[in-house]
């Protein structure tokens, strides 16, 4: 196993998930523009409370306007980790940064430290990491209620609590698992898991996908923005 100078598994590099979970984290048949896919939810069951299940159905109906991805807003955690964009991990002993190509998403994982006292509402939450043997465990709290898990409208409240586990299984694969808790929405904790693959292209780098700026540029060119 590749290790850093301080003896931890070396997660540095550019990684990407190869699931269809950004469309729907559960098993789903193909639909126009949506490839079929097997879900990333253990047991495929998301344990919604009854009222929450109705909200999920409403979200699905209105997904073209309500989903953060449609607005080019930050996608939150864990969705950023399986969105169809590469991300780069830069690992130092005290601080691990995660940089996604999607809308310059940044995650800061502060090691061996406490969450600040809340309430704080952050799109990406507040990430605090520690090593359990060779697994990086990241505790994430202080979310907004505005991010979803996928385009299918699976959602959470601001009380979301995510515990992620990153385990290097080969030099080029990380097994990613996350336990998801939210007493406002779910009846019990549930888990997702999938592998992350190292981008092996010789010239691989994370580029830019600045979707809202492209939208601004296009609207400005059409004269839809600016003084009359």
């Amino acid at each position: 196993m590749p290790r850093t100078a301080d003896g931890k598994p070396d997660l540095n590099g550019i990684w990407q998930a190869l699931t269809t979970a950004n469309f729907d984290i559960q098993d789903h048949a193909a639909a126009p523009g949506v490839p079929a896919g097997q879900g990333i939810v253990e047991g495929n069951e998301i344990p919604y409370q009854p009222s929450a299940r109705a909200r999920k159905d409403d979200n699905f109906r209105d997904r073209a306007t309500l989903d953060n991805e449609a607005k080019c807003f930050l996608l939150g955690v864990p969705r950023t980790m399986y969105a169809p964009f590469p991300f780069q991990i830069v690992q130092s002993p005290a601080y691990i940064a995660v940089f996604s190509e999607y809308a310059h998403t940044t995650r800061s994982i502060f090691m061996n430290s406490e969450h600040p006292s809340g309430p704080i509402e952050w799109f990406m939450g507040d990430s605090r990491g520690h090593w359990e043997g060779d697994t990086l465990v990241v505790d994430v709290r202080h979310f907004t209620d505005q991010t979803w898990f996928d385009r299918a409208g699976n959602f959470h409240s601001a009380d979301l609590h995510v515990v992620e586990r990153y385990t290097l299984t080969t030099p080029d694969h990380i097994q990613y698992e996350a336990t998801i808790e939210d007493a406002n929405v779910f009846t019990r904790p549930w888990k997702i898991s999938f592998p992350l693959y190292r981008r092996k292209e010789k010239n691989a780098r994370v580029l830019e996908y600045e979707c809202y700026a492209y939208d601004h540029e296009e609207r400005a060119r059409r004269g839809e923005l600016g003084p009359r």
Partner: protein, 293 residues
């Protein structure tokens, strides 16, 4: 730490409406001295280079100087201006960050002599609508940066609008010229204990200051990061752009380590409550230098 924690909306209001002064919230009032040197850029660079030559920096396990941590561009005033400015109701006074040419002015080509003023009068600062700050502005944008280093990688995290830049330091080549990025393509290498960063593939969609300083898509930026002492970096950046400038020019400034425990946190931008048509009611969206103005 609390002063650095203003939400984006306060900065947005200042940038867009130009009605609030940014002063202290960008990390405190401008210091007169940094690392025992005068903070004025033209004097700081000379003094800081002498101190750096006599300083043995702390090192990472791979032998590179250890610059990990959170850093405050303490004399940059949140990128309001980069030239000498007396201050007015909208922008704070500024001491020029430009050390070459000696007059401290951006050496624009003659046809662009009035463009900065025109930008200020008629266009919105691109970071005011959450576009990426670009290079080199990311380094001296509001609220400071964190540096994180790994073998063959040097990266910045900016608090302002969660902007980042990852710089390979492995002698790899730039990406193809047709791929243009707001933050460009940065490649670094170590010259002794100085990190030298070369950035190309830029657009003309970013500015250098709230006051409207600009460049074209031919901009080529060289940056130099040198530890002066354990808590100060000398930052130098040279801009070459034959489509906008008559000659290369250089800024220099200190980056000062934030207090122990300072964390660079998430600051949403476009995600904040943001009524774009209202914001651009009086000012136009900047579409770059090249289109007919």
């Amino acid at each position: 730490m609390a002063t650095a924690r203003r939400g984006f909306l306060s900065a947005l209001a200042a940038v867009l409406l130009s009605s609030a002064l940014l002063d202290a919230q960008e990390g405190g009032a401008r210091p007169a001295q940094v690392a025992g040197c005068p903070s004025k850029s033209s004097e700081f660079i000379v003094c800081a280079k002498a101190k750096a030559a006599a300083f043995t920096p702390p090192r990472n396990p791979d032998g590179t100087p250890n610059m990990n941590g959170a850093w405050n561009p303490a004399t940059a005033n949140g990128s309001q201006n980069i030239e000498d400015y007396k201050g007015d109701a909208f922008l704070n006074p500024q001491v020029s960050l430009i050390v070459d040419p000696p007059d401290g002015r951006v050496p624009y080509l003659p046809q662009y002599a009035n463009t900065r003023q025109d930008n200020w009068d008629h266009y919105i600062d691109p970071i005011g609508v959450c576009w990426l700050a670009g290079v080199p502005r990311q380094v001296y944008a509001p609220r400071g940066i964190a540096i994180v280093q790994a073998p063959n990688v040097f990266a910045f995290v900016g608090e302002f609008a969660h902007e980042y830049r990852v710089i390979p330091t492995d002698n790899s080549p730039h990406i193809g010229d047709s791929i243009r990025l707001y933050m460009g393509d940065s490649r670094g290498h170590w010259q002794g204990d100085t990190l030298v960063v070369d950035t190309t593939n830029l657009t003309d969609l970013t500015w250098l200051s709230i006051s409207g300083h600009f460049h074209s898509d031919a901009l080529h930026v060289t940056e130099r990061f040198t530890l002066v002492n354990a808590d100060t970096i000398l930052y130098e950046t040279t801009l070459v752009d034959p489509k906008a400038y008559a000659r290369p020019w250089t800024m220099a400034m200190p980056l000062v380590r934030f207090e122990k425990g300072h964390e660079v946190w998430e600051e949403p931008c476009i995600e904040a409550d943001h009524d774009l048509p209202e914001l651009v009611r009086e000012h136009k969206i900047w579409q770059g230098l090249m289109p007919a103005r």
